[in-house]
Symmetry: C2
Subunit: 422 residues, 2 copies
């Protein structure tokens, strides 16, 4: 019966224990040899007689020995009188020493050697927070009556946003990778009212920045029978609170990343786009917020509302997709929002059009033929409720949470303009 490293401290001194894991570090001293074993739960110390051969770092081993109290050992317990059996061949030396507390390595090395670099405890903890975030996202929505859906990632037309799609050769026919589940999640509001999906989305945008990936995980939500975008924002608030709660529950991983967890306020501060421009001293005819404006708004929300989050509502219709619902009474603005987290855009959301005739009009206004959107428009012709939704980028969320400089650092195997491996 295997004991996980984390649970060694709960063993009875004198008990025989079996550890399985990786040789995290071996330290042959003159009078004794220390072996630190790493498994999914943490680290444990094994004490061996001086001169005992120990396989090189990263070799997988089984250690059988006696649990022995030692106030100096991690968790107050170590393993003595131990036998070490290798479970595989001797491991090759990793590109960096994974037992050092920090992972001080250039980005290309980190990414080229991802299968090994993710083993570093400070690095694996970052992904553990991503996984906890997914748990919190789903459990919150499950509790609110949402249904998980799975929509196709290959589509027959590139209608949603034109040029920035990846072409796929589909049995000799032209197809495209889906840029978002937008059209499908809306249709499925017509079935389940409240839906969510966690899945890959693909953007063929040739941006080579610290914030863009060509494939990323989108946490998509859509719900029907809303009054306006404020109902959508209220669900987003619950989702963020659920994600932070799930992350908080991973205390050891949080500590390994050094993350400062945000507090999600009962109500997220909201500012209208026009007021936001005025607040940051931008010209009133700016069509969008520049990164420095987002940073200034983040600082304002923290100073004025004690909040790491701020929502900017009412973005100009001209900058939003055709399915966006206008601001009632003033069609320059929209019932949509961006949510900034620590001064960076994390979420885009809002209310959508729900009348078939509004869609026909909006599509024609773009100079396009509604017939090209026929399967999407089916849902609206056959009755849809007022609805809206949002999408959170998982990698951006985790990057801001752990204050990583580049989203690639928190993505298991990033894909971008230049990178298709490992």
């Amino acid at each position: 019966m295997r004991t996980l490293c984390h649970d060694l401290s709960a063993s009875t001194p004198g008990e025989e224990v079996v550890l399985e894991g990786w040789v995290h570090r071996r330290r042959p001293l003159s009078r004794v040899t220390f072996l630190v074993v790493r498994d999914r739960s943490g680290l444990a110390q094994v004490v061996l007689p001086a001169g005992t051969p120990v396989p090189p770092e990263e070799t997988t081993v089984r250690v059988t020995g006696t649990a022995t109290a030692n106030a100096q050992a991690p968790g107050g317990m170590e393993v003595t009188d131990a036998t070490v059996v290798a479970l595989t061949e001797e491991a090759a030396t990793p590109p960096v020493e994974l037992w050092r507390p920090g992972l001080d390595v250039a980005l290309p090395t980190l990414l080229d050697h991802a299968p090994v670099m993710w083993r570093h405890p400070a690095q694996s903890a970052r992904w553990e927070l991503a996984a906890a975030s997914l748990r919190g996202f789903r459990s919150t929505l499950d509790g609110l009556g949402f249904t998980e859906v799975a929509t196709p990632k290959v589509v027959g037309t590139a209608t949603e946003s034109g040029a920035n799609v990846f072409p796929v050769d589909w049995f000799g026919r032209a197809a495209y990778l889906a840029q978002s589940p937008q059209f499908y999640k809306q249709q499925l509001v017509g079935v389940f009212e409240r839906v969510y999906e966690v899945g890959p989305v693909f953007r063929a945008e040739p941006h080579d920045t610290v914030r863009h990936l060509a494939e990323y995980r989108s946490l998509d939500v859509e719900l029907g029978f809303v009054e306006d975008h404020r109902d959508v924002l209220a669900v987003l608030r619950s989702v963020l609170a659920g994600m932070v709660a799930a992350v908080s529950a991973e205390g050891a991983a949080v500590a390994r990343t050094g993350a400062r967890l945000p507090v999600v306020p009962e109500e997220i501060p909201v500012i209208h786009f026009a007021d936001a421009l005025a607040l940051v001293g931008a010209s009133a005819d700016e069509p969008d917020l520049a990164p420095e404006h987002e940073r200034a708004l983040g600082a304002w929300a923290l100073a004025e509302h004690g909040s790491d989050f701020v929502a900017v509502e009412g973005y100009p219709m001209a900058k939003r997709p055709f399915y966006t619902h206008p601001w009632p009474g003033d069609e320059r603005w929209s019932n949509s929002f961006d949510l900034l987290f620590r001064g960076l855009e994390l979420v885009t959301g809002g209310q959508r059009l729900h009348r078939a005739s509004d869609y026909e009009h909006a599509i024609r206004a773009r100079g396009e033929d509604p017939a090209a959107y026929d399967s999407y428009l089916q849902a609206f012709r056959h009755g849809m409720p007022p609805h809206g939704g949002f999408a959170i980028g998982l990698e951006r969320w985790v990057a801001r949470l752990v204050e990583a400089a580049n989203v690639r650092e928190v993505t298991l195997y990033p894909r971008d303009l230049n990178r298709l491996t490992p």
Copy 2:
């Protein structure tokens, strides 16, 4: 404050209630008009004076009225003295009458009109069982110390299985849709020991059968520090039990599908491939089980063990991928298995090789150069534990559960040789 249809029965008679949903059916009679409202929770009956105009079926409405006890109404409660307000334009007539109890429609109609056909209660219930299965899958694995991962769906090389891949134009470079997360989930066992992923996989196999989709949802699991494939099978057994338990909790949806839920036995019956051939009267040199053999084995498991599930272990090495671990002592056979559910293959799994030298040997034996697998082999050179895993096809699982004739019937938006829309 909105009342869900399902909760109407819990209202106090005389209470004012607000329903929101779709006009499921309107029935103008000579003395009264019935309106049945459908929302995500179910149906509710509204009684209106004869001649009251009611929008056509599928229009979304808000109904404000009085909860009134009536033993004839669904749940014993209906809404009277009601005002009906349409939330959108009048809905177009659906291709079939969605209020009829059964959805008796040809497959092409079902698929072409998916956005509307999924609204039929018997059809939406099928997906609700899929969603419940995903919940059960994840919660079981979360409880067993697994970490959810997200691996890339676009890869730079088509090494895993050669020809049956979809080419992608990646910023002008050649890339491919991932056929499975196999290589990545193994590498990540080196990080987290126990991992799972739910995601799309893409198979460019020109099979036009009732069981094949070109894009489907794969429920992937991989775990380290196993003795052999029997440890993997034990986790699969727990996962299936968790999925069935989560489905059982959706009593109303189960009833709408008419599904007979299987009992997952404490131990899934296991038969060796060679014994399975003998049992079904096939020649001992058959390299694989034919569909009629699978059906016969399913019948045998049910008759002999009272089990809807049976695992066939020891498949010939010649028919398994190069990373398969051979059967100790007899390298004709492998430490791998297929799980049959009601006589159809549902899961493939097994133990994998874990020594770097075994990989080099296995890849060379295929006449290939290990250098082409360099990023995958990194993990093994730097120390991996004995490990194994499995993959469940979501659509096949649901199709067998509800005894659908074709996997397309239980897929929200199927993709195959001929279909890229809706």
